[in-house]
Amino acid sequence: MQRVLLIYLLFAPALLWLPERIKKQRALLFALVQLGVFAYFITRIPLLSEVPLIREVTQWIPGIGLDLEFTLDGLSMIFSLLISGIGALVFLYARAYMKNYRNTGRFYFFLFLFSGAMLGLVLSGNLIQLFIFWELTTFLSFMLINFFHEKEASRNAAFQSLFITGFGGLSLLTGIILLGKVVDSYSVSEWILRASEIRESPAYLPGLILILIGVMTKSAQFPFHFWLPGAMEAPAPVSSYLHSATMVKAGFFLLARLNPVLGGTTEWTFIIPLVGVVTMLTGSYFAITRTDLKSILAYTTINALGILILLMGIDTKLSVKAALLFLFVHAFYKASLFMIAGMIEKKTGTREIGLLGGLVRYMPFTFLITVLVAFSMAGLPPMLGFLGKELIYEAKVQLPGIGALILVLGVVSNVLMVAVSLLFIYRIFLGKGDSMPRIPDEKGFLLLLGPGILALLSLFLGLFPGLLGSTLVQSALAVVHAEGVEVKLKLWHGFNEVFMLSVMTVVLGVGLFLLMLRKKVIQERWNNLNQRIFYIQLTRVFTAALDQFVRFSERKTRVLQHGYHRYYILTIILFAALLIWLQIFVTRGWVIETGFSLQPFYISGLVLLIILSTIFSAVSNSRLTSIIALGVSGYGISLIYLYYSAIDLAITQILVETLIVVMFVLVLQRLPRFARLSSRLTKIRDLAVALIFGSVMTLLALKAIRLEFSAPISDFFLTNSYSGAFGRNVVNVILVDFRALDTLGEVVVLTVSAFGVSMLLRKNNSEK
């Protein structure tokens, strides 16, 4: 598995250096690789019926107990097959679709990397690792939506999706860490082993909600769903791959993966179905009133994602089974519908459903395929979609209590979906359409290959569902829902409750379709009504909130970063004084050194000289004298060092003082004439600040003498200086050996400040 992922990582950049002639065929190459990966996973299926999972672990960051862990079990198998299989078809489709665009190299590169990241996500056996792949897909999705970056709409849509899913990603990470702290591990298998511990910990509910926010943003659940219709600005291959078949399912995948750990609680079965139901209704409701082809499909995707999340939340064996089957159903029909929508846009030059019509004359095969997959979307027999819908109804019928409400809402949503599917077929291919920008044709075998294969699969698996049920769904179900159940998929279940529901759905759906067809007025009225009810558009709310946020930070920055050097220094000094004061105050008691002894008169005289020269430098009327006075106090201090036999310090101090005076003299030249500009009040303030800081430092010094936290380290230095480090000068040995790391840090600070000064002055020079 790791090698498979490595192929993605290495192959994508390697192709950038290929010779031109091969480069033109890179879509085919990528498709071939995907096909190979698909074949690899197919060969692993029999293995899965023998062992529950295949695991590969590589040491990664042992310091924090993180390993690279890849697991292939039933659940990741389903996803891997979808990712690599549909990936191959998408690349074939993209070769025909992207032919006349610039920068296709970049496009294929990102698309290919995306499939790698997505595979990595579903194969991760470790949640931190899963999160990294999760963020990678977010980022690559951003790059792909942004493919037409010259268009403002594309940029906005890309940013919106990045912002929302990125926010979800952060929330997810917080959730993972929160729950990971409970069992002190991020490995999924460890989480499953200690599931009850996690479920009973107080971190469970916040962790669940945080993870759920990540799931909701990624899988476009209400109220985060609005990025998905926006993402339709991406080229059609991206929509059919990322935004229908794979990436948006990542949220569902995570729920399924964590179901054994977090599922089954009241919180789970209350919150998640609620989210799912609302999303499902939102999706199907908006799908029927949209007129843009891809927008319609985006909302039906939202509907499907809602159903998936809802089923996962219901969390019975049957519902999980239905969800896993529906995953296939939806991936097949939605990927092909997006490809068809892209093709129609390409051939006719428009996506607006009002302008299209009568395409059956020009594109008969496309029509046939569309009918098949749209039937699957509507859940009509004999397609796979029918099976999926039956199972979903069955799962809902078995629910006690609130299940009845969910069932009714599910029927409503499905009725809408039937109508949407029929309207989709009718308006594009039948009906009248004489306002198309171009008369289409059906050239381009590769454009139809993908949808064709997927449609045939939908049909074939609908007729022989046992192929799917016996192996794949069965083993995946075992992963998600621990107790194994026999999965039997049949097309015909006999006349029962579920069948009656199906019939009712179809009848109502067809009725709605006919009604909307007969009376064009209904559509218009409906749209008007929508605009009145839903005048608050989430997209606009999002943009407005973002604008407000930016304005807020601008205002805040203007207050905090005022640009006055004196106020920065004032803030730093006062804050440092406060911190030091607090520390002095809380540390031990007030034992202050009082045993002062009289020092010889020359030392007292020196101290007096230092004090006087310091005061003089502050009140002097000439800069030069002021600096010289500072120098006097500096040299005086070095004399004191010398007296107390700190000779290294003394030498250093003398040299530094010399340099400072020299530098100051240099700076003096550049300064304007000396003048007293500060008001009386400013001076008093500065004096106060200086006094505060000075007295705090004095207190610190007085207190530090008497404080002993542990045996002083100086003894160690003294005894080991010569024997251990071969040096008699202890100060130097400390600097270059015992505490070399500190010295390194100091040198780096010096370097950085020197370069800073150099840069600042250089800028001044060029301005002159």
Partner: protein, 141 residues
């Protein structure tokens, strides 16, 4: 300032300061001195020349730019970490070799000396960088 006295003096003082700087560096491990002090002295020797002639003149006479001094210093510091690691210790472990010298004396060479030399160069570079950026392209009047 075109003082002939200062200029003639600088010719000798410069070398004197440089020799002192190197002595300070070498004796640093056992007696007062060390890389920091040595570096400051070396920097001052060139600053002195800059005052006597002109900063441009002093800068042109240098083989390295001040930034080059800093880079050399940092590279030497990094190099001093390597022997410790290569001989199986932790990063920054001091490593020593004894080399025979004239008569019966031995010279002990160790990574701390290399480290100190690195500091020497870095400090020289920093001093020069401060000086020359303050005085850049301005003739001494």
């Amino acid at each position: 300032m075109n003082s002939i006295i200062l200029q003639i003096a600088s010719r000798y003082v410069r070398w004197l300061l440089l020799i002192f700087a190197v002595i300070a560096l070498l004796r640093g491990h056992n007696y007062p001195g060390g890389g920091f002090i040595g570096g400051l002295l070396a920097g001052l020797s060139i600053v002195f020349e800059g005052f006597a002639y002109s900063p441009r003149y002093a800068l042109d006479k240098l083989k390295f730019s001040p930034a080059g001094f800093i880079a050399t210093g940092l590279i030497l510091i990094m190099a001093s970490f390597l022997p410790g690691v290569l001989t199986g210790g932790k990063l920054m472990t001091g490593t020593w070799v004894s080399l025979p010298f004239l008569f019966d004396w031995e010279v002990k060479l160790g990574t701390p000396l290399l480290f100190d030399t690195g500091i020497f160069f870095a400090v020289t570079g920093v001093t020069l960088l401060f000086f020359f950026s303050l005085k850049q392209d301005k003739q001494w009047k």
